[in-house]
Symmetry: C2
Subunit: 332 residues, 2 copies
Amino acid sequence: MRIAVDVMGGDHAPEAVLQGALKAHSELALETTLVGPPDVIRSFFSTGIPANIHIHPASQVISNSDKPAQALREKKDSSLAQTIRLLKEKQVDAAISAGNSGAQLAISLFDLGRLEGISRPAIAATLPTLTGKVILIDAGANTDCKPNNLVEFALMGKIYAKEMLEIDNPRVALISNGHEESKGNELVQQSYPLLREKEKNFIGNLEGRDILSGQADVLVCDGFTGNLILKFAEGLAFSIYDFIKTDIKKHPTHLIGLLLIRGILKSFKQKIDWREHGGAPLLGVDGAVIFAHGASDAYAVASGIRTAYTLHQKNILQKIKEKINGTSKSHQ
Amino acid sequence: MRIAVDVMGGDHAPEAVLQGALKAHSELALETTLVGPPDVIRSFFSTGIPANIHIHPASQVISNSDKPAQALREKKDSSLAQTIRLLKEKQVDAAISAGNSGAQLAISLFDLGRLEGISRPAIAATLPTLTGKVILIDAGANTDCKPNNLVEFALMGKIYAKEMLEIDNPRVALISNGHEESKGNELVQQSYPLLREKEKNFIGNLEGRDILSGQADVLVCDGFTGNLILKFAEGLAFSIYDFIKTDIKKHPTHLIGLLLIRGILKSFKQKIDWREHGGAPLLGVDGAVIFAHGASDAYAVASGIRTAYTLHQKNILQKIKEKINGTSKSHQ
């Protein structure tokens, strides 16, 4: 697979991104295009650039404080814009960035366009649960949604879960404030009957305490709610880990206990660690764009590239396209 | 203080509620009215009813599956309706129920009415953080809100935090999907400038990962979002606790580790345990109504009564009334 990597995107760019790209490149059958200032990239490879790694020049950088619309208009030669452009021109099969996610969204929508039948592309994040994984869609692309958007998210999320999590018939649920059909805000209440009609494996509403329960494989919500869930889980899990570690260190007997159970703490941390779960694709645009976490280290970048690889190998975007065409035709 | 307790409300009613009421009664200067079927209540007190505990009869029970509007109309003699009625008629100073929260909300709004100047009463929950506590408002009363509702929530939440958490000048934040003013869904974006204008201690937006960080004392959001946060935190915290405990039990060396660090696990569980943090009042109605968790055991019921007691002792509802009057007058 050919992948374009935005070398300048993310809190730990360019080093972490370059290290992560190199790590993924050494593990997978990749042709990797690193996008950014050539001198920065070259100086990273002191012993020469490996085979099948290319440099695509970009002179500008989009920072996290740049406004998306302005970045789209004014930073045409940014590493992010050039990364997406390579995808648009089909010079690569997938693109990844850990940079300004608002700008990445705006540029992707503008350059790649939406799939026919999809009114709003959405970010599909894989959320670690304590028993497995769940797909959260929309994880942050659309803060305000309409019921038909949520129906589209469910359709795309189901195909994504089926392929990525290898589940035959993913169970789809709406995130709400109670299980009954009458619960929810206006959006959820209006979406419920549509989903019941269109998704044969729609299991109804799930509430906050069910999110990590493993009762559903796809959790559907607006992007404001999805972003909140994703970031809250991240914050809470790490706070708890820190709490246990800090408290343990205070007491000598606890320290012995810590040594005895450090395997557990490690496996616990691994379970809650978003770096393990790769990047999140923007589903519904015409191209494979992966959003990596802004705080990505090399490990997380490599994990995001692995997500892009699987997305490509399993031809998931094509399957989504076909499903949408099938669905819209069956409704004609 | 005189308190009315809905004996039949909650998953573990009536036993847990009666035990909890008795526990609180033995600790605080209370005149307790137990509301429910007299024979049920009497059979609990095998050795006679203690001094200052009264029985108020109610022949019906509102179940969790009862629709709020229907319960309000058709179950006039339910333990919940009678509990709120005692408050309405000023026979008691506060009322508490762990029962159907939708019905409790409907009956409270109908019987007690809103405070002048408050368009939407809201539930103020105390969320345990790993460093202290934070007030979450609205924790579930209003699924869809307008910007002026959020301004009212902030005002009420600030007074509540000041008195309950004993913080001189509580910091108020909006829950959003990013820190910048431009972030948020439509509701949040429209509320931001209003809060900046009206709340001198408004610190802006906080996102999911900041919720437990202790950066704010009052977190303002619509009730759909608040309910999600509350229930998600509860589910996640308990999942993690279970995970650690289960994993520890699998390995003999881990078991020794567990014995050495069980103090930590206990203090951790205590920190995340909603039972420690009492009930949540509905602020903005003309009376002290406490919502206890549906799964309340005796401990949680007693903790909720303690919240009611403090609310009354500190005259918090009166302070909210005065503040609203002051605010609305200063705008005339």
